[in-house]
């Protein structure tokens, strides 16, 4: 009996060793990349489009990078940090991915970055999450964000709003990291140049019924600053219109993007003319952008009329991860040191401008200010008004000035 058990134990060890070797052999041929986006909750539409962006980047390279076959292992979250970390854990610890791309939403990014510290052998590339703190406060050496973030995306919009004569505004935004960053990016210059945000409503992410928030909007303002995304934005916009709201709106980066402009149902034209800002715009007039849109449309018949912000960001993130693999010829040995050095040095022309990162491994890039217009085919889209190039994470301020202002939060900045 005793002998039998021992033999059984030995063969198990043998099998495990064999399996481990098999795994090592396989790892030479195929590189597994974890792909996490929100396929549930308020950003489900965005998450789905983010997946499309990532797949497009891989398709353009015929499923290969650095001479090896790339295999995506997908995971889903619902825009909450704990769910994002759980899904990432599963991909890293059970599916043994070597590179991780994701997550989608602000607070998720901060949580995944913290988790990244406990997995120094895996390289994490941010999907599309745009909270400042992810790379600005206590960054993780194996966490890269190739696109710019929430605050950078709003630089220049404050001046644009003032230019339209909006001197007093009321703010409605979701209560978490990404909108804090967006609002800071807007207010930093808006307040400095004499604008006033007379009141703020921070609502929980996923709020459906905005009736009581709409009731709170004062009548003596020039415009409403709306920093909501996905289903939240659609709900607010319809209910505001239903309640008789007639103030013009200024949108955050994801307030009037493709996922929001193209909801299924009757089109509402009241959005036309709404300015917003972001790292891309539907109507960019460059060859790179047009190719990106054409490829997107050719590959995803069920996609949006034009790729959404999330498709663009996941595309840039995935393409950067793949370009990095190309640069080191798929060599992830030595705890991926060579690979990370290649990522740090990476610089290429993406669909909406140069892609490269700073010393905190955060993107430096262009912000586009655009307004909602009716496209020739009857759908709504965004038209570029102007572009603000080369925006760093300190929003064009010096490090000292930026630190004096502090990170964006519910009360920072403030100019009632």
């Amino acid at each position: 009996m005793e002998k039998q058990r021992r033999r059984f134990g030995r063969s198990i060890i043998g099998a495990a060793v064999a399996l481990a070797f098999a795994g090592a052999v396989q790892a030479q041929e195929v590189i597994k990349i974890g792909l996490l986006a929100t396929l549930e909750g308020p950003f489900a539409a965005g998450g789905q489009d983010g997946m499309r962006g990532a797949e497009l980047a891989l398709k353009q390279k015929n499923g290969m990078a650095g001479g090896k076959k790339i295999e995506f292992v997908k995971g889903s979250s619902d825009a909450t940090p704990d769910k994002a970390v759980n899904a990432t854990r599963k991909l890293v610890e059970q599916d043994k991915v070597q590179i991780m791309i994701g997550p989608l939403s602000g607070d998720e990014g901060i949580a995944v970055k913290n988790y990244a510290k406990s997995q120094p052998n895996v390289t994490f590339v941010n999907g599309s999450s745009g909270a400042q703190a992810t790379t600005l406060v206590d960054p993780s050496p194996n966490f890269f964000r190739f696109h710019t973030e929430g605050a950078q995306w709003m630089v220049g919009l404050g001046e644009h709003a003032l230019g339209k004569g909006y001197k007093k505004m009321y703010l409605i935004a979701e209560d978490y990291g990404f909108p804090y960053s967006q609002v800071q990016g807007f207010m930093a210059s808006y307040c400095a140049k004499g604008g006033h945000i007379v009141g703020k409503s921070w609502v929980p992410l996923g709020t459906k019924d905005y009736a009581s928030v709409v009731s709170k909007i004062p009548s003596d303002i020039d415009a409403v600053l709306v920093v909501l995304g996905g289903a939240d934005a659609v709900n607010f916009l319809t209910q505001y219109e239903q309640a008789g709201g007639d103030k013009p709106m200024v949108g955050g980066t994801i307030t009037v993007d493709q996922t929001v402009l193209n909801y299924k149902g009757k089109r509402r034209d009241s959005l036309i003319g709404t300015p917003s800002a972001g790292p891309m715009s539907d109507s960019l007039d460059t060859a790179e952008w047009k190719k990106f849109v054409a490829d997107y449309k050719a590959n995803f018949k069920d996609g949006f009329p034009s790729p959404s912000l999330f498709a663009y960001l996941y595309y840039v993130s995935t393409r950067s991860a793949l370009e990095g693999l190309d640069a080191v010829k798929g060599d992830l040995s030595g705890n991926q040191v060579k690979y990370r050095a290649a990522l740090q040095k990476l610089s290429y022309k993406g669909p909406a401008g140069e892609v490269h990162i700073d010393e905190n491994r955060n993107g430096v890039g262009t912000t586009y200010i655009s307004e909602v217009v009716k496209m020739p085919d009857g759908t709504l889209g965004n038209k570029v008004i102007k572009s603000v190039p080369n925006i760093s994470q300190t929003l064009g301020l010096s490090k000292a000035e930026f630190q004096k202002m502090g990170l964006g939060s519910r009360d920072v900045p403030n100019c009632p």
Partner: protein, 306 residues
């Protein structure tokens, strides 16, 4: 204790009325109209539980499924009323099939039913994501109920929300009539009190169960369309309305229709006043109510002790 609580609520209300009467009245109306939606969804949930002791954790999925089916029919026919009818009929059919095909075989096995309905809700959520994608859907109600109504004091109020309230009141009355004045209703009530006795009296209990389940599921689908018209439809709504229904019936009392009405009112008001006066911490209010009810009246406000 409860006297103190009522006094505190009254004092706060008085302050709210004096401070900004318009905001207060609007918020109260918003709370009542949101409660109307919660009532429609939760009444089906509580009906099924009351008779069959079946905690149907796929109730939210039936809400979302009804909404999507209603949207398809609405797009196809261009009629909102047909969309509402399709939402009800579609979910009712699925409900009846579930009862006859599956739940009938797990009678009285609470844990199995619970596990099954959780599994079902996950499968349905993925199937719906596959079919309808992650997009946001909005219904297109007739112009006449979509605009604004002039109101004293607060000037205007969205018509549709008032329509929602009217719908909920009508449903409440119809349910009351159905349960108290019809033969099937009588059987359902008898079944709630003593299932074995009802069967012994020669009633086809399985048929009664199937009808009840269909009506309960249908109400969820109906809520999906009328709720999707007031707000919107997207993946994740299933969980939201399941949670709302659970809180409503826990507060109101499992199995009681009047309890569902009272619970919905409390939850709706708590949510809207929270959002208007303390947006950051507003979400907590609902759960504070639930905790208080569980602590002092665990069977729910209108519930009977088990």
């Amino acid at each position: 204790m409860s006297v103190l609580g009522v006094a505190a609520v009254l004092a706060l209300s008085a302050w709210g009325l004096v401070d900004d009467p318009k905001l207060f009245i609007r918020t109260a109306l918003n709370g009542i109209t949101l409660a109307a939606l919660y009532f429609v969804v939760a009444s089906g949930f509580t009906l099924v539980f009351g008779l069959m002791r079946n905690v149907n954790l796929a109730h939210g999925s039936l809400y979302l499924l009804g909404a999507y089916l209603g949207f398809e029919v609405g797009q196809w026919t261009g009629s909102w009323l047909l969309a509402v009818a399709a939402g009800f009929a579609g979910s009712a059919l699925v409900g009846a099939v579930l009862q006859v095909g599956i739940f009938r075989h797990m009678q009285g096995q609470d844990l199995r039913q619970t596990m099954f309905t959780i599994g079902l809700s996950i499968v349905l959520a993925d199937l719906m994501l596959w079919q309808w994608g992650g997009e946001i859907y909005q219904f297109d109600p007739p112009e006449i109920i979509y605009g604004r109504l002039p109101m004293p004091l607060i000037k205007v109020y969205p018509t549709y929300r008032l329509v929602l309230l009217a719908i909920a009141i009508v449903i409440g009355l119809v349910l009351w009539w159905f349960l108290n004045r019809t033969r099937v209703g009588m059987m359902i009530r008898a079944g709630v009190d003593d299932r074995a006795m009802l069967a012994a009296a020669g009633v086809n209990v399985q048929a009664v169960f199937a009808i009840t389940f269909a009506v309960g599921a249908g109400l969820a689908g109906f809520g999906g369309v009328v709720g999707g018209t007031a707000l919107s439809i997207s993946p994740g709504e299933d969980v939201r309305y399941l949670l709302a229904s659970l809180v409503v019936v826990i507060v109101g009392g499992m199995g009681s229709i009047s309890g569902a009405a009272l619970g919905a009112l409390l939850v709706g008001l708590a949510e809207q006043f929270g959002l208007a006066y303390a947006p950051t911490y507003g979400v907590v209010f609902t759960f504070v109510i639930m905790v208080l009810v569980l602590a002092f009246r665990p069977q729910g406000l209108m519930g009977r002790a088990a």
